[in-house]
């Protein structure tokens, strides 16, 4: 099947992906900037500080991904492991 640019769905064209990233980053910035106008009155102190949920969410995911990879080194097997 010949792939003319018009054939590929809008979502997967490189130009659209660039647009999606720009929009995504703008929204990310928007949610953090909203903290200027919102009082989070956190229960534990740090959770009420500027941009807490943004960095906490990001760092949590980074830790989870690399922690999982580490465990994977020990525990991953080919998926026919039990069939053998």
């Amino acid at each position: 099947m010949a792939k003319r640019p018009d054939d590929t769905p809008w979502l997967v064209r490189p130009s659209s992906i660039r647009i999606l990233w720009v929009v995504f980053i703008a929204i990310l910035a928007g949610t953090v900037l909203a903290d200027f106008f919102i009082d989070h009155h956190g229960e534990f102190g740090v959770d009420g500080t500027f941009g807490f949920y943004a960095w906490f969410g990001f760092v949590s995911c980074v830790v989870l991904v690399f922690g999982s990879r580490l465990l994977g080194v020990l525990l991953k097997r080919r998926d026919d492991y039990y069939d053998a």
């Binding site: 769905p9 979502l11 997967v12 995504f24 929204i27 990310l28 949610t31 953090v32 909203a34 903290d35 919102i38 009082d39 989070h40 009155h41 229960e43 534990f44 959770d47 941009g51 807490f52 949920y53 943004a54 960095w55 906490f56 969410g57 990001f58 949590s60 995911c61 980074v62 830790v63 989870l64 991904v65 690399f66 922690g67 999982s68 990879r69 465990l71 994977g72 525990l75 991953k76 097997r77 080919r78 998926d79 492991y81 039990y82």
Partner: protein
């Protein structure tokens, strides 16, 4: 019996038995009659749930115990409602399932779950608990594959073991003079046995591997049913019997992170969702451990919404499996091109499980964090918040991304047939409906709700948390690339170590047997004559035992029990 029910009039007909009876009729029914039964019976059950009188109905005496097979209150009605809705949606989705026996077993299974939540005594609850174990095994087996047969065998052994724990616990509870009624359980050794049996079904460690091992081997429709009842019935029993049990907090948190880590490493789309069940039930178990009205409301609400969005996610995955026959992320991708409805409804389920604002997850799960916050449990709160980010990572983006987007697999399957599409749309509407109008759900919760989910601070903080998790996902995509692997879990012990140990033991036995057989032959003759001495005419064991010796041995047993009790 008081005639004060929301419906205004009372029918004390067990809704669970209606579904169980329907299950047996479905074995014979065909064509339009079958379809009508599948769709009507759950609605009848739902109506009956709401016509049950408040409190106990239908009590009778059995072996000296006062049994209450029907007892309704807010908590049982909440679970009864969602179980009935789920049976309807699952039946609709499975209308095209050619193996009619699977749906029959699924209805018996659902009826068992419904009967457990309306059981007013421990004995009734136990009986239907076992009905669920057997019927759910049949649901797995009726997938008809070799993998399903083996996984079903492992599944049933573990669940029968859980049943033994539960039965031993209930028997000890009654023997210690405990009340047969099913309520909060007092501190006793029996309580720990019951708790162990219940936690096994909740997917708690150390045996949690039964869930991701068995469920994904069910058919495209079977797993939708399996995801709903066993674990959530266990959550119901925990809310009913063990509110505020501190051990549950840490057990639940372990489940939360175990589910995330294994789901991140997993390649099979339905195993990702299976690990995600354990992750989600972990939130509920933690909430039960916190035990305040806010947290218990959170656990109950989360169970309600989770049944719906997890079924939606599994219907979306089931549709992909049905249309393509493939289940590994490495074989899938790019399906959004030709399966738009499956993609969109799958994304709605993914947003709901991630607790995005305007979805059902947002209005339910946040009550659990709020419960931890109110109790000033700082570590629990931070871990729950980190886990919420992790849910978006492992289920919220990973599932839709690798199945519907990512690379183009070249597969061009259309959306599934009408009945399956209808089920997808129905559950999507429920996910969004509950998220937009949480009052409907809050009105069903066991405690009065003093909680407003849609504050600007909560919406913004949740969006930050989730969107930055999304950013992490796309930045780390290289580290999340799918490989054709599985990750070893506790089931290794009974799938590899056990059989290997048995095989080597039998090998040793074979050589030892030859050497032994000589010795055996020589001793047998000696034993025979010894047996004759004791059991033969005039032998000591041939005599009737005096009551005194019975009393003596009973005393020894009780002393041993007393001794064990102090440990």
């Amino acid at each position: 019996m008081t005639p004060e029910t929301p419906a205004g009039f009372v029918f004390a007909i067990p809704p669970g038995l209606v579904l169980i009876a329907t299950g047996f009729v479905l074995l014979a029914a065909q064509g339009t009659v079958r379809n009508a039964l599948i769709l009507l019976a759950p609605l009848v059950a739902l109506a009956l749930v709401w016509m049950l009188p408040e409190g106990g109905a239908l009590t009778f005496q059995w072996l000296g115990y006062k049994l209450t097979p029907l007892r309704a209150d807010a908590l049982s009605r909440l679970f009864g409602t969602v179980f009935s809705i789920m049976t309807f949606a699952g039946g609709l989705f499975a209308l095209r399932q050619e193996r009619t026996t699977e749906l029959a077993a699924a209805f018996v299974y659902a009826g068992g779950a419904l009967s457990v939540v309306f059981a007013g005594d421990l004995i009734t609850a136990f009986v239907f608990w076992e009905v669920m174990a057997i019927a759910s095994t049949l649901v797995i087996w009726f997938a008809g594959t070799d993998g399903a047969r083996k996984a079903g065998q492992r599944y049933v052994v573990i669940h029968l073991f859980g049943g033994v724990l539960l039965m031993a616990g209930i028997a000890a509870h009654l023997a210690l003079g405990g009340d047969v009624s099913f309520g909060s359980l007092v501190e006793s050794p029996a309580k720990w046995l019951i708790l162990a049996g219940v936690l096994l079904n909740a997917g708690a460690p150390p045996l949690s591997a039964w869930l991701p091992d068995a469920y994904p081997e069910a058919s495209w429709s079977g797993m939708v049913f399996l995801s709903a009842y066993t674990t959530k019935t266990a959550v119901y029993v925990l809310i009913r019997g063990f509110p505020g049990e501190p051990a549950l907090i840490w057990l639940g948190l372990f489940m939360v992170f175990y589910g995330i880590v294994y789901a991140i490493l997993e390649n099979d789309m339905r195993r990702i969702l299976a690990y995600s069940i354990i992750n989600q039930v972990g939130f509920m178990v933690t909430a039960v451990g916190i035990g305040t009205p806010m947290a218990l409301n959170g656990a109950a609400a989360h169970a309600f919404v989770h049944i719906i969005y997890k079924a939606l996610l599994l219907m979306s995955a089931g549709s992909v499996l049905y249309m393509t026959g493939k289940r590994k992320c490495t074989d899938l991708g790019g399906l959004f091109r030709t399966m738009p409805l499956t993609t969109i409804t799958g994304i709605i389920g993914a947003l709901a499980i991630s607790a995005f604002p305007l979805t059902s997850g947002f209005v339910a799960k946040s009550m659990i964090s709020e419960g931890a916050g109110q109790e000033h449990m700082a570590l629990v709160w931070f871990l729950l918040t980190a886990a919420s980010a992790g849910v978006f990572l492992h289920a919220g983006i990973k599932f839709p991304w690798f199945v519907f987007f990512n690379r183009d697999s070249g597969l061009r399957p259309p959306d599934p047939p009408m009945s399956m599409r209808a089920a997808l749309v129905l559950l999507s509407l429920l996910c969004v409906g509950i998220g937009v109008a949480p009052g409907l759900l809050y009105g069903l919760l066991p405690y009065a709700v003093d909680y407003a989910p849609y504050t600007p601070a909560h919406v913004v903080s949740q969006l930050q948390l989730l969107l930055f998790s999304g950013l992490a996902f796309f930045l780390l995509l290289g580290w999340l690339r799918r490989t054709e692997t599985i990750t070893l879990d506790a089931d290794w012990f009974w799938r590899r170590l056990g059989p290997a140990a048995a095989a080597s033991a039998f090998g040793g036995i074979a050589s030892a047997a030859a050497a032994l057989s000589d010795a055996v032959r020589r001793t047998v003759m000696g034993i025979v004559s010894a047996v004759y001495r004791h059991h033969g005419p005039g032998g000591i064991l041939a005599r009737a035992w005096p009551t005194g010796s019975m009393a003596f041995w009973a005393t020894v047993m009780l002393a041993a029990y007393l001794f064990l009790y102090y440990f």
